[in-house]
Symmetry: C2
Subunit: 275 residues, 2 copies
């Protein structure tokens, strides 16, 4: 039987220590192919490159392991890997290890998680890994332990279709990590502040700062797990429909006058549109 | 009583006809402030600018209406508007009108929808509008009718907290539109293909193409509504947790050996990590 094919991507770029640690952690668990951005792409969310061409270059950063750097975003890397690099449908996509947390609402800003979402959209079982330590020289050894645990479970048991995992590891040595919690995404947010300064020509510019604030006191959240020394695993979906809001709107909104042949709403006459 | 404060954003850029049509549609419904990208930002998803400064310039594109162009992404526009432009918390954010559909999975690639999501994160009731016509010279008159309907309902009745709306309008004259359907997001996807060519130096480059494929036969989806002549309204949430997957993992995965003091999983010895 052939080894499982594992696609490795990230958003910190192909030269980041986090992706090196991830490759090391999974290299004995399957056939590995790396496709990662040629430069840091943090905060790119689910951006794709549509108005310019992309470059894809084979590199030898990981010994004998097949690896490519791409000029695009993390999501571009997954799309290009599927269409142009891989010779068969991969069995798993792992993204990261991100330098810094992707817990809670960070899932929507994160290139690491967006790459994992894109893989899941392509029907590839998928996991994003992050270590809650922004430092370039962060210690990835405890994270590597939990990467192996999660990858083994994904390959052996898996998760339901149309879902993926967001795994965050606290900044602790392995022997101080309490274990694993399967969590929901905390309702937390960034409270933004922009630094305002003037450039050498005296014109103002603005630079994003911000403070992460968790107003969610639930003990079933990723924020709670991480604050209490656990690895958090949040199952993620890309059906963004707020299903319970569908009946709310149908029951509460007033739809009079918006059906065919009957268009007329307050302050809007059909004549305005030359009908 | 003061008029409601309405923030207008988009992703096609401040000079796009779609945002002009949106401003025209809502200008009598409140006090309007526009903050939009200075260049097209389609496909930027939830990207934010963190590694470089942003510019914000007041412009006079909309007569007497207060308007700013921003050098960043659609999400940057919302963040800057909230922190630096608006003198009070807006009552509504409207994003668009996008030139082209943002139905189904496009919600996660779309800058238009990501700007609306960001506003919702900031606690601002929020709606993204799109017309299923990519053309620069598209006819926004029918869309404007439904913009007024939705904005009136949002200001008078609203939707539950932590949700927003994704409104798509079919490419039809107003008197051929069947009405409004409150829908779920169709399970559809882009099947990617990259065009491969060589540059003048003979080096290959890749350009994203793709075909949108809907495998979802439900009649409660946005794709069904649009294909049948209805305006689709999908309520959207940014809690991406797949809640039903939490018990699935807890019941099916094998957690032996990953708790504190007991770390050991197949093929991984604790010694590897120098504990």
């Amino acid at each position: 039987m052939s080894k499982p094919l594992i696609l490795v991507v990230n958003d910190d770029g192909i030269s980041a220590p986090g992706i090196k640690a991830l490759v090391e952690a999974v290299k004995d668990l399957g056939e590995i192919v790396v496709v990662a951005p040629d430069s840091p792409q943090s905060g790119m969310g689910h951006a794709i490159t549509i108005n310019k061409p992309l470059r894809l270059t084979e590199v030898k950063y990981f010994g004998d392991i097949k690896a490519y750097q791409c000029s695009g975003t993390p999501v571009d890397c997954v799309k290009l890997a599927v269409d142009r690099v891989l010779h068969r449908h991969p069995d798993l996509c792992v993204s990261g290890i991100n330098h810094g947390s992707n817990s809670s609402i960070n899932v929507i800003y994160s290139g690491t998680m967006s790459a994992a979402v894109e893989a899941s959209l392509e029907g590839i079982p998928s996991v994003g890994f992050s270590l809650c330590d922004y430092k370039h020289e962060a210690d990835f050894s405890a994270t590597s332990f939990y990467v192996k645990f999660v990858v083994n479970q994904m390959l052996e048991i898996g998760i339901p279709k149309h879902t993926l995992l967001n795994v965050n590891v606290p900044k602790l040595p392995l022997n101080e990590i309490m274990g694993v919690k399967i969590c929901r995404q905390a309702i937390a947010k960034w409270e933004e502040k922009y630094m305002e300064r003037n450039d050498p020509m005296g014109r103002p510019y603005y630079w994003l700062m911000g403070e992460f604030v968790n107003h969610d006191h639930g003990q079933d959240t990723d924020e709670w797990a991480l604050a209490n020394g656990y690895v958090s695993i949040v199952p993620v979906q890309y059906d963004l429909t707020s299903h319970h809001t569908i009946p709310y709107i149908n029951e509460n909104w007033k739809f009079t006058g918006v059906d065919k042949g009957n268009e007329s709403i307050p302050n809007v006459s059909r004549e305005e549109f030359n009908l």
